[in-house]
Structure formats: structure tokens, C-alpha cells
Subunit: 251 residues, 2 copies
DNA sequence: TCAAAAGTGTTCATTATACACCCATGA
DNA sequence: TCATGGGTGTATAATGAACACTTTTGA
């Protein structure tokens, strides 16, 4: 059906013009401003939250905006996203992953701007937030409306939320949203809230215990008005060594 | 833990300077050339193949290159990817999906160029390929070495291949690599080759039949030297209506 | 009649689901 | 002592894995 592989390993056609000056080539390309936008999720009070700042653009007066910035010259986009995170929240070394690139020509009112969305997850210890410029604070994801945010940031947020929901099923991603020590109830609340489902308490426990990544700290909750639950830590090291690989065809 | 939500819905600080001219703002951003690269997979002779062309850059003389082009002014990247596909292969209306953006500052020798990788899957009817400029042809993915390709295209290809492997388990994506009518043996060969595993024939059949998306065409293979297998079509419409949603926590 | 691959069913092990009771704590 | 949620176990159903024989065709 396909052409024979070896027969086509013919020499390069000699009459085809080769490009000698690659800098000149790149100079000839159109150029586009690039930004990164960080969708920083947190979890508190059994609700998924996202960090937003006030837009400082007049036409978006009063609206909220994702944490973003343009990419510096010769800056890798991953680095740009970490930089934004650091500059805006004072945080370093958190989970961060590229989700997708948004390129609608009219997504920015000032002209064409591409943006690459990154997702990060912060745990809910509020001492993480040291910089509060531009009214940086947490917003409940579920109740946020398109009209509340600038640009196409609602679309970006929705994409990242869907990404998070899917990702949470396959990676211990959600653990980054909890404090280091957590109860099983907190863990279940996290899953129920983000996935927007109800789970059976007993089966949820069995599931997590059978994965065998929870370390019993020997400590207990101390701020509850009922029997305190045990606190666990997640064994990220063990997880890294035992990752699942193949789950089977299912669609 | 978090600040109270309503208490923070304070008015915008009046002394903060608002940006009035968004065009001026965007003008101030650094600009970067953007390309799209299409990783076009095909399947034939029980092997996964990828479409490559000869690089026309002198320093990559003799090496192969993904099908790419810079994004035109005001062109959405998805459109650019479809355009590249059309211009290079004459094909339209095929599966195409954004995979990720590559941004290493030195990935292009001519200066900083970002590229957004798209994955497409063509079925193996060779009459699809009408344009053969730049020695466009299929290469066996498994035996392709880094030294054989230009730029960071091996890295992009590897990323897209990993993406394809994962995606195939959850979506009937691989069906786009087969002719419209196919035997179960062809389907299994596809999965075995791409996932690089061996599957039990009987369980594979049961699995696919139980999903109930295969339509018996009533036709049979006619080019085999043994008992011919039945030919099926995949019911994409039914699939779209019955997509799976939630597969459970598993990591 | 032989070789090669198509087609089919059963058993067993594992995993998921549904469900009910006792326990520890603070108020 | 009561309300609240923590902690546990079992029975059943569904799914996945392992495995062997008969059938059809072309050579």
C-alpha cells in the first residue's frame, strides 16, 4: 500500500535550493507576542478555588484575571510559568504542567497574543500566599461566571478544570491541594468536590489503602467536634517507583 | 484558612494605574516566531509510520523533517495545522489534535522559534497522498533515530507517540489509521504494534464486541491465503453518543 | 489433506459495588 | 447520653485473564 521504504531512500534532489542562512529564514517569519497564564488551583472549605488578580486593563475594569505575563526573550515557557508563580505568590517548587495553547486571533483586544496555559496546584496552607498585589485571592471555581473574568480566561479556566478532573483519576495530583497531613475524609471531600460526584466512604478507603501509598502518621485531627480521624501522608517516593502503566482499552 | 470571600470583594484601588491603550500594551511585548508541526501517523504492514519530508535547510542536509510551517498573521494555530496538512498531503477533514508546545530557546538554529505540535492520523489508503514534494513519504517510527531528523523533531515525535499510545486506550483514535472496512485481525495488529504489546486474540475480540461499536458489513477479506475474516466498520456516531465518562481512581 | 488463521466458550481470579454495624469524641 | 462522623467487613456482581478446540479457506 505504501511506497517501498528502501526504494525511496534516494539522494536529495540536487536541483532543489537549500536554505543556507537560518537566521535570515527565521527573520522572515511573522512574530507573535506570547504570554503564559497560570491557572492555580487550591482547595479549601470543601471547594475548589482558583487564584485570580484584578485586571489592570481599563476595558476589563473590575474583572478578574489569571496570573500571566509575557514570555521574556529566550525564556522557555515552563520557566516563564514558574516565574509568574513566584512573582505573584512567592511560591516555588510546586506542581506545574503545560495544558494547552490558546490562539484565537481575537482573544486579546490589543492584537494577536498567543497564550500557553499552565496548571498549578497549591496546598491550602494560607501562609503560602505572601504577595497580595492586585487583590490576589482565591475564588470559588464553581460560581465563577464568564462575565467576571477578562479575556478568554473563562475558557482557559474551563479547559484546565476539565484537565484537572481527568488527571486526578490517573495521578495523585490532587494530593498537592491538601496539607501534608490529611484525613481520609479530607481526601474524599477533595475528590467529591472536584469530580462533582458522591463516593461511598468505605469503598473509597479500601481503594486508597489498597494502593498502599498512604503513610499513617500516628497523629489525629484535633480541631473537630467528633471522633478525630487519623492523619496520613502520601508516599510520593513510593508512588514514583510503582507508577501504573497500562490500564486497558476502554472507550 | 483562606481569606473570607465576600470581605475581599472590595472596590478596585483607585490609586492603581489602569492600562488604557491595549494596543500599546501588546506592542510592548517581545515577539516570537511561531510554527506548527504536524506529526502525521499512518499504519501499514503492521507498522506505525510517520510522514516526513526532506529538510531544505543546508545544515540539516539529508535529514528528515516533520511537516511544518510558520503561523500566518492572525491565523489560529488549529487552522495553520490543517493548512499544513492540506498543502503537504492534499488531505482535508482528518483527525487533528494539539499535543503540546515546544519552547526551548535553542531548538531552532536560526533563533528562537516556538512550535506547537499537532497530531494527525491518516488511514493507510495510499491514494490519500497526492502531493509528494520534498520526498514526502512514510517512515517506520520504531527505527527512526534522532540523527535522522532535523531540529528537535525526534523529541516532538516521541512526545506525540507517547500521546498516541495513551490516547488510543481511551478513544477510538486508532480507527482513523485503518481503512473504513477492516478485519478484527487488522485492528488487533494496530493495537499490538502501537502499544508494543501482545494481546490475547479471543479476549481482544470479546472486548471490542462488548463495546458494541463494530458494524458487521457482511463482507469478507478477499486478499488472504487462508480463511477470510469478516470486515467491520466502526460506528463513530454511536460512539459519540455513548462516550464513557468516569473510569475510577487508578494510579 | 495440509497449513494458516478465523471463530467461539468456560473457568478462575480480581476488582467494584452495595450495604450495616460498632466506636470514639466533644458538647 | 447524644449527635456526629470514624472505622471496619461481607456478600454479590462485573470484569479481566488464561486457555483449547472446531471451522473455513487457498494452496
Amino acid at each position: 500500500m505504501f511506497e517501498n521504504e528502501t526504494a525511496l531512500q534516494q539522494p536529495v534532489a540536487s536541483d532543489r535550493a537549500l536554505i543556507k542562512d537560518v537566521h535570515e529564514l527565521v527573520e522572515s517569519y511573522p512574530r507573535v507576542p506570547i504570554t503564559v497564564d497560570c491557572v492555580i488551583f487550591g482547595f479549601d472549605n470543601n471547594e475548589l478555588k482558583v487564584l485570580l488578580i484584578r485586571s489592570d486593563i481599563e476595558m476589563y475594569h473590575g474583572k478578574w484575571s489569571l496570573l500571566g505575563d509575557f514570555a521574556h526573550d529566550h525564556e522557555e515557557l515552563d520557566d516563564a510559568a514558574y516565574r509568574v508563580l513566584r512573582e505573584r505568590t512567592g511560591m516555588d517548587d510546586v506542581y506545574l504542567e503545560q495544558v494547552r495553547t490558546f490562539s484565537k486571533p481575537n482573544r486579546h483586544p490589543g492584537g494577536r497574543v498567543l497564550t500557553v496555559a499552565y496548571c498549578s496546584l497549591l496546598n491550602s496552607e494560607h501562609h503560602d500566599l505572601k504577595i497580595l498585589d492586585n487583590e490576589l485571592h482565591w475564588h470559588v471555581v464553581k460560581t465563577l461566571r464568564s462575565e467576571d473574568v477578562a479575556f478568554d480566561h473563562k475558557e482557559i479556566l474551563d479547559t484546565c478544570y476539565a484537565w484537572l478532573q481527568k488527571r486526578m483519576l490517573e495521578h495523585p495530583l490532587g494530593l498537592n491541594l491538601l496539607p501534608e497531613k490529611f484525613s481520609l475524609r479530607e481526601l474524599q471531600n477533595l475528590y467529591e468536590a472536584i469530580l462533582d460526584i458522591k463516593l461511598d466512604r468505605r469503598n473509597f478507603r479500601k481503594k486508597f489503602f489498597s494502593m498502599d501509598f498512604l503513610i499513617d502518621t500516628g497523629e489525629y485531627e484535633d480541631d473537630v467536634h467528633h471522633r478525630p480521624g487519623k492523619l496520613y501522608r502520601f508516599d510520593f517516593d513510593k508512588y514514583k517507583l510503582n507508577k501504573k502503566r497500562w490500564t486497558g482499552i476502554e472507550f
